[in-house]
Amino acid sequence: MRVRLMALVAVLISITLVSANLLEKKVSANKFSQTFPAVVCPPTGAGLNGQVSTGSRNTPSRKIVRNSSVFVPVKSSRFIIGADPVLLEGSAITSITWQSSASRWAGATVCKSPQGDEWFVGGSGDVTSKGRVLLVNSGLSNAIVDVALWSENGALAGKVFTVKPNSYTQVRLDSLAVAQSDLVVRVTPRSGRVSAYMIDERTKGLRSLGGDFVNSINTPRTDFVISGIPNQTINSKSVGHILRILSPGSAKATVSVDLISNDGSFIPVGFDSREIAREIVTDLTLSPNIKTNVFSLHIHSDRPILASVYSEIMVSGHKDFLWNTATTQLTPMSLAVSGLEPTIVFTGDQIRVGIESHLNNGRVKVTTVKGSDIASWKAPTGTRSIKITSVSSGVFGSGLVTSVNGIGTFPLMPGSLLSRVAIPSSNISVINR
């Protein structure tokens, strides 16, 4: 009898413990929400044409203008953007803005969500400059923005701008940094949903010297790649490039540059362990003796630095230039490229990138780009969007878009990162000790 009772007790305890542990609901302290924050596409300046490629005709959008709060579908996979910036509902597909001035210049940039800190390595404040910084506040309260500047003469006095709700402001570079040729601009919103853009446009008298978007870099780094620099050769000789570097820290940086091209990878003369003074924008002329029409730079530094490459080109008989900026390592992403048909340049030791081209007719072309050091791929005609489905590690990318007006480039980086935030939950303990 006792043995039976003992067995019963043991069985009951076992069953209870096992069932309780099995049934035990996993109580997660946090639940997370994953969303793509809304992105802002820059306004089109006077005398320019602007188009935005989107992933869907139904992408909700609204103009960033006072008293506008209603989202409406864009109704086109490539819509014209006017003098007001546009807020697009965040999605996994990064939209590209293309702006051009007839027979003068063209440039591309990604529509991006508000950022905390943006560095623009490019632009000039000298007499040729018609460049400007656009500060777009897509929030519903005033935005306060700090703008800090560096030039060839060192750090300049920063300025603070207040941008009214649901509006934007543009600041001329030559007013920010009078008579300063080589600029690096840092935009830091103190409050507000601010997206910043820089357009570098230069003229000499009435003659246009070209123009381009200067894409932003989020943070200085010690190791990065500037991918897809177009290399135009005239008389079998590469036109000049300028590598602009800033070491924003409190110490000089020692920088080494690897040039990566189909003609081989090497360190250009004078770019091995080159010292860069602190807080002085340094322009280094780069004239590689290569025949390929595109190359990339892999830059190492002992201190966090910022860098981009200025390249001059001739398009349809007129001068243009473009700014290639550093990109982050490529991850699977999607790009809306309606009407752009970009050439994508990948840089990396071993390149293996899976690409899906979604055509306007609904078809999908699947391609795998393989190679080493540098490889390029051009989107087929009629491509609405491209999706990078897989990518090997250590690969960087950028897009090049050519038109009769000029060439534009953009880094292959998502404009809106999937943000994963803890969902706050209601709990009355909040108002208890």
Binding site: E24, V27, S33, P114, S419, I423, S425, I428
Partner: protein
């Protein structure tokens, strides 16, 4: 006897003996009349239709008599007698009224006549009345009537006659039992009032005699022994005016009649009111004493009189014709109110004293007369301080007291934390919270406030209305209360004082007790304190059918009290009771004659239903939210996991670490194999332990916490621990002797293991609670979460966002606060978070919420407060998203003002222009100047009403589910939350509570149920 024949006075006395079924007392009465030292000149008897042997006795005693109708009253009887005796001869003719249950002493008549000898103005004289059975019991020495109609004798309860009232005194009246009245005056006054057939006719006659200019005295040298047979319901009252033949009814009716017929006219309204009120109060008293018949008598008596105003008018007219003096001449004989009050208080105290400290009956020993020398041999108990201190009870209490002093060192002051929210300062605040039909918690709720709020409010009486002090003291002394509660239980199982104390202290230091105190778990603490008292009553439930209703209701009240704090306890007790019912049913099916199934079932069901009814409407609401039966009061703080629960440790923050393994499981496992009654308790303990283990694996979202939280199983483990302690005591009681007399075997090892584990646990637990354990979540809290300026404007809603530690991680949480921190009861009535607000806040946090401020503003939220430490990214997001204007940034946190209207009541006109409307505190109306819509930023509830010109406006829901009212015309509006239903429920609850209390209080006895010895 020689003296008895003497008649050396000029008086002629005719004794009139009124008989009505008085055979019990008549022989002695007749004998007393016959043996008077001053012989009665003539005796005549009136029989009012006796059905016993009274007439035969009268015949045998040769007293002339006539029989009249049974319905005839005392006055009628006297009138009949007067018709049958000779006419009045002289002014010295006296009538001596004798009841058939009143025996005058031998010299009664002589003393009465002696008293009037030198007092010619005296018309009425009466003897001192003593009890028939207890002849030292003083019944009356003159009588009067109080302003509330009570018969006033001025005597204390069961006053012993030691001559303290002796003397010849002027009185308002004397009892008709033994009343000697001058015949001339009697006839002049018209005799007894025919409307007073019985009772109060004596006072009425005395009153009338006094205002006619005569004197009424009591001569205490004359004594009569009165059985008060009619008043004490020893015989039926069959007189004409005795509606329903109820003596009390007749007495009260006649009392009112006497007062209203004889008093001055100007005092009548006040007198009528006083009679009505006193009738009400007395009927309430009778109801409490469970004497509904008497209660009805009180009300009916006044009613009967008031529906016959003609009677009173005639009576007053008749008295006016006889009155020579003002009615105020009797004022000196009407007892003042303070005197009545003092006597009532004295009587109440005496009753209570007698109940708790009964007068000991002296025990007489046959040795007593011889014990003078033996006293010297009796050892005198030597008690000194040392012997007192080394008593286990004292040592245990001192030990626990010192431990508590150290343990509670962070709790000296207003406490909150853990599951306990802030206590409002005053008991009135708690009552208000309890009575409110709408609670301003979050977006508001109409949930029923839990009953424990009312219990705490009631308990605050002991701290002079200071609820904060009550809660602090409760947690401070709870270990000692828990210990003594267990002590009361286990002393029924053992007389070994060290074992008793050890078990009680172990119970007070059990893991569940420590965790409950550290986490501020009121429900578990109530269970730990009260469950031993309930378990103590369990053995009586084996014979539940013979238990009195008083016991059943008393037990129900205790269960109800614990239920009010802990619905899990009600669930546990219901399981036990249903098991009892099921067991009875099985027995009944097997042996229908064996047990009194219905009697048992009715008591089981009462035990089941009464606690539930006592907690209405909260308990009823729980039926629609069944998870509440698993949740304890207060903020939802996670308990431990199943693997902790199996060790009788409820877990959670502030609980003792699991590896302080308590011996509860071991004791239960050992006791379950016992052959003693320990097995019974161990079996229940084991069942509740398994239940606790299983329930602890569940996670529920409740009490203002939207996240699923592991259920706290404190109540279940409290019962388990209790069962383990009782089982252990039963096993250990006498075990030492048994083990000492047996060879070493596994019992020795188990016993040793058990004792060592108890000692080891108690020691380590004591050390833990005085060190690490003292840093519990429940601590003194003198600061508020919300910055003070957010609470300046009443009802201001502030969205508070804060990172809270949940286990090892931080969780971003929010709540809509209104001007202050969470008060007691707020978590229990907190509504579910609004989906619209949830989304707005989620969007705000992830940076996508461009309309968050609009949504929050629509819900009346004026401020957003992010408590430090803040998340910089989140701050940037709020700064940037728009609609939030920074107001301040301090050490406490950052405050933003939400742009928009953000008021509790918003008026939107036809042009969609919104205007905030201030709701006046004084109940003044809200005024609008155009048609439109009124939107209330509170959760929707059908009791929200807006009234314009006495009509209710149409109520709808807006896009966020908030109530809005269509106001087609401008004007004044009153916003109310209709609390009629809540008030109705509270009334019902009060009635249930009152009924239970009435059933528990000692029952009054009808006079006929009181022994005659006790009465007289």
């Amino acid at each position: 006897m020689a003296e008895s024949a003497k008649r050396n006075d000029a008086h002629h006395v005719t004794a009139i003996l009124v008989v009505h079924d008085g055979a019990t007392w008549l022989p002695e009465v007749v004998a007393s009349l016959a043996s008077q030292t001053r012989a009665i000149d003539s005796t005549f008897a009136i029989d009012t239709g006796s059905v016993d042997s009274s007439t035969k006795l009268l015949s045998n005693s040769r007293i002339p008599f006539v029989s009249i109708s049974r319905e005839a009253g005392f006055g009628d009887a006297i009138n009949s007698a007067l018709e049958n005796i000779p006419e009045i001869q002289s002014a010295n003719d006296w009538l001596w009224f004798i009841h058939d249950d009143c025996a005058p002493s031998r010299d009664a008549l002589a003393q009465l006549l002696r008293a009037i000898e030198d007092r010619p103005h005296v018309a009425i004289v009466g003897p001192k009345l003593r009890g028939w059975y207890d002849r030292t019991h003083l019944l009356e020495a003159g009588v009067s009537i109080a302003g509330n109609g009570a018969r006033w004798t001025g005597l204390e309860l069961r006053e012993f006659d030691q001559g303290q009232r002796d003397g010849i005194k002027d009185v308002l009246g004397v009892s008709t039992a033994g009343m000697l009245v001058k015949r001339e005056v009697f006839e002049e006054l018209g005799g007894f009032d025919s409307n007073l057939s019985l009772f109060r006719d004596d006072v009425d006659l005395g009153w009338r005699a006094r205002v006619a200019g005569h004197s009424v005295i009591v001569a205490t040298d004359a004594v009569a022994y009165h059985a008060e047979a009619s008043a004490s319901e020893r015989r039926a009252v069959d007189v004409t005016h005795a509606f329903l033949h109820r003596p009390l009814l007749l007495d009260r009716r006649n009392a009112s009649y006497v007062l209203l017929a004889n008093s001055s006219a100007w005092i009548l309204p006040w007198l009528s009111l006083r009679l009505l009120v006193s009738a009400g109060v007395r009927s309430l008293g009778f109801l409490i004493a469970k004497l509904p018949g008497y209660a009805a008598d009180e009300i009916l008596a006044v009613g009967l009189l008031l529906i016959h105003p003609g009677l009173l008018l005639n009576a007053r007219k008749a008295r006016r014709s006889q009155r020579l003096l003002s009615s105020r001449v009797v004022a000196n004989f009407i007892p003042p109110r303070w005197k009545q009050f003092r006597l009532s208080v004295n009587r109440s105290f005496e009753t209570i004293r007698e109940r708790f400290f009964p007068t000991p009956t002296p025990i007489e020993s046959i040795l007593d007369p011889l014990s003078e020398d033996e006293d010297l041999l009796t050892p005198v108990p030597a008690r000194n301080w040392k012997s007192l201190i080394v008593r286990p009870e004292v040592l245990g209490t001192i030990f626990l007291l010192i431990l508590t002093l150290l343990w509670s060192r962070h709790r000296y002051g207003p406490i909150s934390g853990g599951a306990l929210s802030t206590t409002p300062s005053g008991a009135m605040d708690l009552w208000r919270i309890y009575a409110d039909s709408w609670h301003g918690v979050g977006m508001g709720s109409a949930f029923a406030t839990p009953t424990w709020i009312a219990v705490l409010a009631l308990g605050s009486t002991f701290t002079f209305g200071n609820a904060t002090a009550l809660v602090a003291i409760l947690f401070w002394i709870s270990p000692i209360l828990i210990m003594w509660s267990m002590h009361m239980l286990v002393r029924t199982f053992t007389a070994r004082r060290w074992l008793l104390m050890g078990a009680s202290v172990s119970y007070a230091l059990s893991p569940v007790a420590i965790a409950a105190i550290n986490q501020g778990r009121l429900g578990t603490i109530a269970t730990l304190m009260c469950a031993p008292l309930i378990v103590k009553a369990l053995p009586r439930l084996r014979a539940i059918e013979v238990q009195s209703w008083k016991f059943i209701f008393g037990l129900s009240l205790i269960v109800g009290a614990v239920t009010s704090f802990s619905l899990p306890f009600y669930l546990a007790s219901s399981i036990f009771l249903l098991a009892g019912i099921a067991k009875d049913y099985m027995h009944f099916r097997q042996n229908p004659e064996g047990i009194l199934f219905k009697e048992r079932l009715s008591r089981w069901l009462l035990l089941l239903a009464t606690p539930f009814a006592l907690c209405l409407p909260w308990s009823l609401e729980a039926l629609t939210h069944p998870t509440r039966f698993l949740i304890e009061p207060g903020i939802s703080v996670a308990g431990g996991l199943a693997n902790e629960a199996i060790l009788a440790n409820p877990g959670g923050i502030g609980s003792i670490p699991w590896w302080f393994v308590s011996p509860v499981l071991l004791v239960i496992l050992v006791a379950i194999f016992s052959s003693t009654q320990a097995r019974f308790y161990a079996s229940w303990g084991f069942s509740f332990l398994l239940a606790a283990t299983f329930v602890s694996s569940l996670a529920i979202s409740a009490h203002g916490n939207a996240s699923n939280t592991h259920v706290w199983v404190g109540t279940w483990l409290a019962i388990t621990t209790l069962c383990a302690v009782v089982s252990g005591v039963v096993i250990l009681d006498g075990l030492r002797e048994r083990l000492a007399n047996s060879n070493i075997h596994y019992r020795h090892i188990l016993a040793g293991l058990g004792v060592v584990s108890v000692l080891a646990y108690s020691l380590t637990a004591s050390m833990w609670i005085t060190t690490t354990g003292a840093n519990s979540p429940l601590q003194v809290n003198r600061t508020s979460v919300l910055p003070p300026f957010l609470g300046i404007s009443p009802g201001t809603k502030t969205l508070v966002i804060r990172n809270l530690s949940v286990g090892a991680t931080d969780q971003l949480t929010f709540f809509v606060a209104r001007e202050n921190d969470a008060f007691l009861g707020d978590p229990d009535v907190a509504p579910k978070s609004s989906p619209a607000i949830d989304k707005a806040i989620r969007d705000l946090v992830d940076g996508s919420g461009l309309t968050s401020s609009k949504v929050l503003s629509a819900h009346g939220i004026k401020f957003l407060f992010m408590k430090n430490p803040v998340d910089d990214q989140l701050v940037r997001s709020v700064d940037g998203i728009g609609g939030f204007m920074r107001n301040s940034s301090t050490d406490a946190g950052i405050v933003w003002r939400v742009t928009g209207v953000g008021e509790r009541l918003v008026f939107t006109d036809e042009n969609s222009k919104s205007t905030p409307m201030l709701i006046p505190d004084d109940g003044a109306p809200v005024v609008t100047r155009s048609p439109g819509t009124l939107t209330l930023a509170e959760n929707y509830d059908s009791s929200w009403q807006v009234i314009q010109n006495g009509a209710r406006l149409v109520r709808t829901k807006n896009e966020y589910g908030l109530p809005q009212f269509l106001a087609p015309t401008p004007g004044e509006f009153f916003l109310i939350h209709d609390g009629t239903v809540r008030r109705g429920w509270l009334s019902l609850q009060f009635i249930v509570l009152l009924s239970v209390l009435v059933m528990i209080l000692p029952a009054g006895r009808r006079k006929r149920e009181i022994s005659v010895e006790e009465l007289t």
